[in-house]
């Protein structure tokens, strides 16, 4: 896939994001959408790249948390611009429920993952960040999804994830559980061998391969 995000577009979005200029950011995203940009391209090469960069700037103390908060909030809102097209497409009879485990506040990545399901014709139901285990179990019980996706960005939430997977495995023995998120860069992948039918996907490519496998 050739990216439609040039260096120039990226720099200008990043600049507006750091300045907290939501209007300017929306205009740029609207323009890209009307140019029929692939949603994956938009998500990875603009949003994710900008947020990873902002994480670095914050880590190196170049920007304050306030600037980071504003940038995250704006980027989250940019996803809304994609929804009218994303949801109106025809859907298969397949569904996934996606959530962040309890105490996990990093929302952007998992919300994007739910959208990738939609993009593949699945119903991608998104529960949000910091989802209490009880709520998750109830929702899975009513929606009866084909896949449950759990997201985790910070490593110290790994225990929460293990606990969640353990309970879900017990309550819904046959359910396909998908885990992902940045925390796995620090370890924890044994979870896929520790429990049956728990799978890990690193990025969109892995994810879409798994989705295709699950359709057959």
């Amino acid at each position: 896939m050739v990216s439609k995000i040039s260096e120039e577009i990226f720099t200008s979005f990043q600049k507006d994001l750091l300045a907290g200029d939501r209007r300017q950011c929306s205009m740029l995203v609207e323009k890209l959408l009307s140019g029929k940009i692939d949603v994956r391209d938009l998500y990875l090469n603009l949003f994710q790249r900008a947020m990873y960069n902002i994480g670095r700037l914050w880590e190196y103390n170049k920007i304050s948390v306030a600037v980071e908060h504003l940038a995250t909030s704006i980027t989250l809102q940019m996803l809304n611009l994609v929804y009218p097209v994303l949801f109106s497409a025809e859907k298969k009879n397949k569904s996934a429920v996606i959530a962040c485990v309890a105490n996990e506040y990093h929302q952007l990545g998992s919300q994007m993952v739910s959208d990738i399901f939609e993009l593949n014709g699945w119903n991608g139901y998104y529960l949000g960040s910091n989802t209490p285990l009880d709520d998750l179990l109830k929702y899975v019980d009513t929606k009866k999804p084909d896949i449950l996706g759990l997201s985790i960005a910070i490593y110290f939430n790994m225990q929460n994830l293990w606990k969640t997977v353990e309970v879900v495995r017990r309550e819904f023995p046959g359910l396909f559980i998908l885990v992902g998120g940045q925390a796995f860069l620090w370890g924890g992948r044994e979870i896929t061998t520790e429990f049956s039918d728990v799978h890990y996907a690193a990025g969109f490519e892995d994810l879409e391969n798994l989705i295709r496998q699950q359709e057959n």
Partner: protein, 369 residues
């Protein structure tokens, strides 16, 4: 503490720290403040009175009353540059001829608030997403419902036509044998079958309109002839109801291009409604006028009228009162269908009405079509 460290701290506290600092004379005039205070207020408070900054003191006329030593944290509200008030924990120090006022925020409150904002923001985004998702699911269901309605109406149209035809043939063949009572029942059966087929046709129209497939077959016609025919057709019905139905035409003959059967459908609807809703002894006037660009047809009755709150949604498909406002034996969709037909002719339809005096329905369509 070594003296020079104290010196540094003193300087730092006054120039850099996130502390709200004011120095006032004993009459309440501000004589000095630090940069943090100026930023938070959005202006330099020099020479202002402290009543101007503290929301809690706006009614205090005698500053001496405020200026007591406050040795422990006390909450007061100040104005800020955002226009929203902010609560800070204050202490007042009496220095004889001067007062030192120090305010600070509680870091726990601030951090809790920040966490709450992040959580709220996340929730807002997941909820917005859910809303979009559900909206599209509802739109798909709605489409399915439209398709179902259209299929049902389509499938019912032929059998209902067959029933009507056979009933007519049998009536002719059997008319000699039927008793008066049988003939009456036969008549009611035919009327109801006709009513049913009209409802089916309305449903079909609605489903075509909803699918954006209402297409017009234009041909040219004399609008006066069309009106004469239509009024004549309704004359018997009007007379049976004890109504006077009249037609007023301009001297010139106007030829327009329109879908004749669709315009007839609109006229049938307006006249049918007028006859239904006008009491015995009333008048119904159909009138044609034209200017250089438009022709306008009005149907005026002296009936019960429509109340203003119902008028707003009278041309809506989903109007709650559509049943009450239309002919008893109909789907109640007539006005909504008429509105779409007129809109398809690039025209408009409207109503003026006074309760207990009557209603005037009008529509106009452009002449150069």
């Amino acid at each position: 503490m070594p003296v020079d460290m104290l010196d540094i701290l003193r300087k730092y506290v006054f120039t850099e720290a996130s502390l709200f600092l004011l120095i006032c004379s004993s009459n309440g005039r501000i004589t000095d403040s630090n940069p943090y205070t100026k930023q938070l207020l959005g202006f330099d408070p020099l020479n202002y009175k402290i009543n101007d900054l503290f929301l809690d003191f706006t009614h205090v006329v005698e500053p001496r009353k405020i200026f007591k030593e406050i040795p422990e944290d006390k909450l007061f509200n100040i104005k800020t540059f955002t226009g929203l008030p902010q609560s800070l924990y204050f202490r007042f120090f009496d220095l004889g001829s001067l007062f030192l006022i120090v305010g600070r925020s509680d870091p726990r409150e601030q951090e809790n608030m920040r966490k709450e904002i992040i959580e709220l923001n996340n929730n807002l985004n997941s909820l917005t997403r859910q809303l979009h998702k559900q909206n599209s699911e509802l739109a798909k269901l709605n489409k399915l419902k439209d398709q179902f309605l259209s299929m049902a109406a389509h499938d019912l149209r032929n059998p209902s036509g067959v029933i009507l035809n056979i009933a007519e043939i049998l009536k002719e063949n059997l008319s000699a044998q039927l008793t008066e009572e049988d003939a009456y029942l036969w008549d009611r059966m035919q009327k109801n079958a006709l009513f049913m087929s009209q409802i089916i046709n309305d449903f079909l129209d609605v489903s075509l309109i909803q699918a954006g497939q209402l297409s017009l077959r234009y041909s040219s016609c004399s609008i006066a002839d069309l009106l004469r025919d239509n009024v004549r057709q309704h004359q018997i019905m009007a007379e049976t109801s004890g109504l006077k139905l009249s037609l007023e035409l301009p001297p010139e003959n106007i030829i327009i291009s329109c879908d004749i059967s669709k315009i007839e459908q609109v006229l049938n609807n307006l006249l049918g409604n007028a006859i239904e809703h006008t009491e015995k002894g009333g008048d119904i006037l159909v009138k044609l006028t034209a200017d250089a660009e438009h022709l306008t047809i009005t149907v005026r009755d002296t009936g019960m009228g429509i109340s203003p709150d119902k008028i707003k949604e009278i041309f809506d498909f989903y109007s709650k009162d559509r049943k009450k406002l239309s002919v008893k034996k109909s789907s109640g969709l007539g006005l909504a269908i008429s509105q779409k037909i007129i809109a398809a002719h690039q025209g408009k339809i409207w109503v003026e009405s006074v309760v207990d005096k009557g209603s005037t329905f009008s529509f106009s369509i452009p002449l150069n079509k």
